[in-house]
Symmetry: C2
Subunit: 326 residues, 2 copies
């Protein structure tokens, strides 16, 4: 089979992903129509990824697709939004590798089913450069209730879901580091790198509870810094409280990775959020309801920036500011 | 000045483009919230362009920006939608050329003002390949009234706005062809290639009048073919009726370009639409109201495909099917 036109490519691979979304019109048009929903705002977010920068060119294509979708879903989760759909732009090296494309689309289909959203449209073009993907995801929140980053207040408690540092460690495993790590730990880290878990259930439950929220994509330190900057406060994080996986704890104990590397590593896609003290007692119940571990890792103070408190009670700033794009 | 973080880049260049869109939150968040609009659907469309494929790497950066915006606005025009905003993903070769970026953003700002929409968010990443841009544009239509491609019926009249073939000729001028063309004609064609005119006024007025509509991006023949296929009809186009600019007529008369090249060239961004016979009489009045030339170029018949009728009344199919992406 060879694809000669964009029309064939859409009909064969992408149209099935639009089934179940009436406003996508089976991708026979080049636009979608999304009915307004009374009392709701549409949350829109966009992420781009490039082969060799954000994923490895020989990563399994289904995993690349699912990670792109999950990274966008993680943004929606941090806003408390319920996913509705997405648009996908692909700049593909020519000629198109149909086996690769079929596997990519299969990955999208699996995750669409799991997370309950549909493809609404997009664009496919040829490029002389690396595979480049851009996704716009959208979902619904109650009107005026999008979770944001700007209302953290001194006295609020700081929480994070899941564990920190695994995504970065998984990438380093794939690059051949940590050969002494046992197979189960290694598999755990690689899976965390390739298939993050967007915390949609947590995000949805934070409405009326969190004063600020963000998903940890640039690293715990950097994303805490975003909340601190936009809210005009200082975030204080207790190093010993930061939740780590079994694998991360072993590497840390063995001196193969530093705490600072874990806290600045990026690619976690956990939710970091602040809750006023009087509401903080409700968080364990929420964690149980959505079956996601949530850990209190610090507090909000007046001031600016992010400080870490070590085992001796000493405050310090991390040397590295987290992932920067340029 | 050098940019070291994505945060600085957003604050310096992109945040000003979000002023006037409350739901963009000054780009301090990585998502936007768009309030639902009672009785309206949100139309969403996405286009990607790559340096060396869709534009020339040394094109003026402001023109690249404006063309990307206008190509997306042309999609909205073909749906009858009123533009509201857009999201922009940029994969930029490193290091970032700030002069280039400043000029790019200036172009966006000019066209935002002209067409009445705002930046709602996006993503900027580094790439080892060519500059790659992806835009998601959105706008409003009355609920259930998005213009589509699927209701052209035998007996309908076929219309097109503006002139056909200029975009392709403009690109060929930039590549050094047609050296004998006089300067005014040459400037006209290059401007048509670099800065298409999205026909938003026409699109908005077609609600309740057009049975099918599309914007001519892949070439008149190919886009007529899209309507024919999705509507399950045949489109018959009279060659002599296809509107051509002064420059295109001169090149055609001089044998420097064929009619088939004009009708398959792409990059026109005019609207092609069908109107039931009993409504077709209203079209000249519409053209006058929006001050855009509209020409009747043919009709809809039962059957399939697109046929052109030449000066001798002979029907034929064009050899070339229009621009294909792979």
């Amino acid at each position: 089979l060879t694809i000669t036109t964009e029309f064939e490519l859409i009909a064969r691979y992408f149209a099935p992903l639009a089934e179940g979304a009436p406003g996508a019109f089976g991708l026979t048009d080049d636009a979608a129509a999304l009915p307004s929903r009374r009392g709701n705002d549409l949350v829109l977010t966009k992420d781009a990824i490039v082969a060799g920068v954000h994923f490895l060119p020989d990563d399994p294509p289904g995993d690349i697709a699912r990670k792109l979708l999950r990274v966008n879903l993680s943004d929606l989760a941090a806003k408390g939004a319920a996913p509705e759909g997405y648009l996908l732009a692909m700049a593909l090296p020519s000629p198109v590798d149909e086996d690769w494309l079929a596997a990519f689309v299969t990955g999208l289909g699996e995750d669409q089913k799991q997370f309950g959203l549909h493809l609404y449209g997009g664009d496919t073009v040829a490029t002389s450069g690396p595979l480049t993907l851009s996704m716009t995801a959208f979902g619904w929140v109650a009107a005026g209730r999008m979770l944001r980053r700007h209302c953290a207040r001194p006295g609020d408690h700081l929480f994070v879901t899941g564990t920190i540092g695994d995504g970065m460690l998984g990438l380093r495993c794939l690059r051949g580091e940590f050969p002494a790590l046992d197979e189960a730990d290694r598999r755990h880290l690689v899976t965390r790198y390739r298939l993050p878990s967007p915390r949609l259930g947590v995000g949805a439950a934070l409405d009326g509870m969190a004063s600020a929220a963000i998903d940890v994509s640039d690293g715990l330190a950097a994303d805490a810094g975003h909340i601190a900057r936009v809210s005009g406060v200082r975030l204080l994080i207790e190093e010993g409280a930061v939740p780590l996986s079994h694998a991360a704890r072993r590497l840390l104990a063995g001196g193969q990775v530093t705490f600072d590397a874990l806290a600045t590593g990026g690619d976690d896609y956990e939710l970091l959020f602040t809750v006023p003290a009087e509401q903080a007692g409700r968080v364990p119940e929420l964690a149980q309801a959505v079956a996601v571990p949530i850990t209190r890792i610090g507090r909000v103070e007046s001031g600016s920036g992010v400080a870490f408190v070590d085992a001796n009670g000493q405050e310090r700033r991390l040397k590295q500011g987290g992932y920067t794009h340029f």
